[in-house]
Amino acid sequence: MTDRKIATYICGGCGLGDRLDLNQLEEIARIENKSDIVRTHDFLCNSEGVSQIRKDIDDEQVTHVVIAACSRRAKTGAFAFDDIAFTRANLREGVIWVRPDSEDMRETTQDMADDYLRMAGAEIQYMQQPEVDRSEDSNKKILVVGGGMSGMTAAVEAARAGYRILLVEKRGRLGGTAASLWKRTPTREPFSDPEDTGAGELIALVEREPNIETFLNSAISRTSGAPGRFSVDISRESGGTRTENVGAIVQASGFTRFDAGILSEYSYPASADVVDQHELEELARSAGGGRIKRPSDGKEVASVVFIQCAGQRSEKEGHLPYCSGFCCNASIKQAMYFKDCDPGIDTNIIYTDLRTPGNGEDFYRSAQRKGVTFTKGSVDAVSPESDQLNVSFTDLILDEQTAVNVDLVVLATGQVPNSGVSIELEDAAEESDRNAKTPDADQTAEVPVDSILNLTYRQGPDLPHLRNGFSDSHFICFPYETRRTGIYACGPVRRPMDIAQAIDDATGAALKAIQAVENAALGRGAHPRSGDLSFPRYRKEGCTQCKRCTVECPFGAIDEDEQRYPLFNEARCRRCGTCMGACPVRVISFDNYSIDTVGQQLKAVDMPDEFDEKPRILILACENDAYPALDMAAHQRREYNQFVRVVPIRCLGSVNAVWVTDALNAGYDGVMLMGCKKGDDYQCHFVKGSDMAHDRMGKINDSLQQLQLETERVETYEIEITDVDRVVELINDYSRKINEIGMNPFKGF
């Protein structure tokens, strides 16, 4: 490019000037990095320093900037230039703060700084500022799927913020499960009595809200597109489909009742007087605050037992392995239906562990005050005895087998997510179909599930699931983010929860949907690289149509066109670079992040020869957790080995194997790959990136062995952001290990 003009700014502040030879750095910038302008400033992040940079950009037509100062995570407010390509050489956290200030270390400290400046110089040569792609026709309407408490809340919240809402409900009425309850657990001080469900009020709000258009008896029969330009078909049960364009989607498809039919040991459904919590709500509603009558003969219930964890928290076939969270409070509430009517009614809640989230502890106390009996025990069987039910159980406090006879038994069963089709199960089914010579009925016994969204994405029709069929979302760090950009899950489809939690959840998801439509309109990336303007491009002539990128993208952003080439949906892309890491022919790149921006950096490092006794270790560190952990170690002035060179990367998933082989060819003695925690309890900000990288690097071992290199020369680590001590120990241990196994035999070739 002819109009490329590079400027390098070297900061002498924070002790950099005392610890480093700035003249030498200037020389590297000028001669090796070929900077057109090189300036040194003793306090670069102050307004004078920053305005000098600004002035050069404006007056000298500088297009590419290298700032050699602190970590790229520091002073981001001062060093913010969105009209040029720029990068930073980390001389403070990366060099002087992690090395001792002593005469004998001066040389290796300077070596580090020199290399980081060279690396930044190499990177900037291959970077371009991404062009802004403002999408004029971006749509800001929001589709909410599900008309229960979660869906209605999301709709009302977003509508009140000024967004048009399409609310789609498959049933003939709004209100979901909540509308079929008699009362709900309390939400207000003193949290002592059941409360009105609030469903009626919310339905009225939805109906009054001019920004909301409601579709009853309707489902989504097709969803295509990307944030800002989704196209959805809304089909009515009675026939007829309407196609709508929306900018984002909130999926609040809720849960279905666990089928208690398999709990025959509790005489369900054999005895009419054994009911689940939903059925009890119906009984309570027909009693209308009066005495609840048992279903078999209409006798007024004088004694009732609640069995907690019925078919839940159990590894038995067909049971739910998890705790549904709401059911203890629900049983407490239902016990009060009886006690509030007549304190003389015996109500006994048999539990193994009572879990009362939210303000449930006050509610629990209130029930104890009202005389509800709580028995720590596990129920073995419920069987009819004369005209009652005999509940036999083990009392876990008194450690004895005992029994009571009661009129009614209520089973506290759990929530099953209504999350549509699981791509993992589908893949597995396909796999087994392919493998099985004769189709085995048992293996494909899965009940066919209706899709919720019917996505036309290459990677399946619904949001991917995480565990137990719940939609994938990180439950602490980014709860509403799913693996489909612009589609946000909330309520019990995401994890089991009660009404209060679902309302909170829906409010959060509504906000995320609003962010998504606004970001999409500006052509900007969503979480976690929100605001990023880059997106992947590929060189079609080099592509072998291997489909790895389309398969491995954690977000389903890449479809395939008719000729089976990848079809990138920029707005669905989270800019992690997993596609780039996957590509065997290295044709995928971003303007500001590519095979070259990293590959040239690691080649720019000055490689001492074998006899210098200066090994080189390359660290590719994920910018989300590992790199911040290293920065924090620097803030605490923890020392780590002077022979490492750290390159921040977007995600371990973006690491292309070529970087590793290039590094070994270039003479590095070891490569450490640092990504986030993977697996079901992942902390990977791109969900699957770290998983993917670990798999890929497992395969690198074979290549190493073919090259007669020790497999220890490439190691992959999971680093959490809090691993400040550990990351330093790992580096230092690894450096010792490299010392033991000796220098890379390829050095100097």
Binding site: R369, F374, T375, L398
Partner: protein
């Protein structure tokens, strides 16, 4: 059978929890236990309880009247109040234990041989007599609680201790013969009698 006991059985029939709520000091708190067991783990004599407090609470709810009132467990309470300050539900456990012991004792169901029960009686009789503790007569009564020969044996065991106390002027042998106490012990005794009557009436003890 003790008249009080018969009366209570008649009155409460199936609901031991209600009986405890009505008659045992701070008994209305029993239902508030959440079975965490912190009380049991905090008790200095914990290992010596047949049924630790949280288990007693569960037994009360399960209607195990004879087992609760007949156990020696609550007689193991040293009144250290550790359970009270640690109970997450702020249940006055020490007082409930005292109350259960007292109730069992009034109903004649407490274990006859339990040394703490007998000591407690000797102690109360001692203070009722003069209005103040006569330590000397209390100790002697205690030693001879199990009869003359056992008493002599214990007295011999404690001889050195007694001598030490005597030498340091912390024991007055003459108090065996004459101990003054308060000005008008008779008045105090009539107060205590009256108080016991009112309490008995409130709880519905016959007679």
């Amino acid at each position: 059978m003790n008249d009080n006991n018969t009366a209570m059985i008649d009155k409460y029939r199936n609901s031991f929890l209600r009986e405890v709520e009505d008659n045992v000091e701070q008994g209305e708190w029993v239902k508030m236990c959440m079975q965490c067991g912190v009380c049991s783990g905090s008790c200095p004599f914990g290992p010596h309880w047949e049924h630790p407090p949280q288990e007693l609470f569960m037994m009360i709810r399960a209607g195990k009247r004879d087992a609760v009132l007949g156990t020696e467990s609550m007689w193991m309470c040293t009144s250290c109040y550790n359970c009270v300050v640690r109970c997450p539900r702020e249940i006055p456990i020490t007082h409930i234990m005292h109350g259960l012991a007292n109730y069992a004792h009034r109903l004649g169901l407490a274990p006859k041989v339990n040394p703490t029960r007998r000591f407690a009686k000797i102690f109360w009789d001692n203070i009722s007599k003069n209005g103040r503790v006569n330590e000397t007569s209390l100790s002697i009564k205690l030693y001879f609680m199990d009869g003359y020969s056992a008493g002599v044996k214990r007295a011999v065991e404690m001889a050195n201790t007694g001598l030490g106390m005597f030498r340091t002027k912390r024991l007055n042998p003459l108090a065996l013969i004459s101990y003054k106490g308060i000005e008008n012990p008779k008045q105090l005794q009539s107060m205590l009698k009256k108080a016991r009557e009112i309490e008995g009436r409130r709880k519905g003890y016959p007679g």
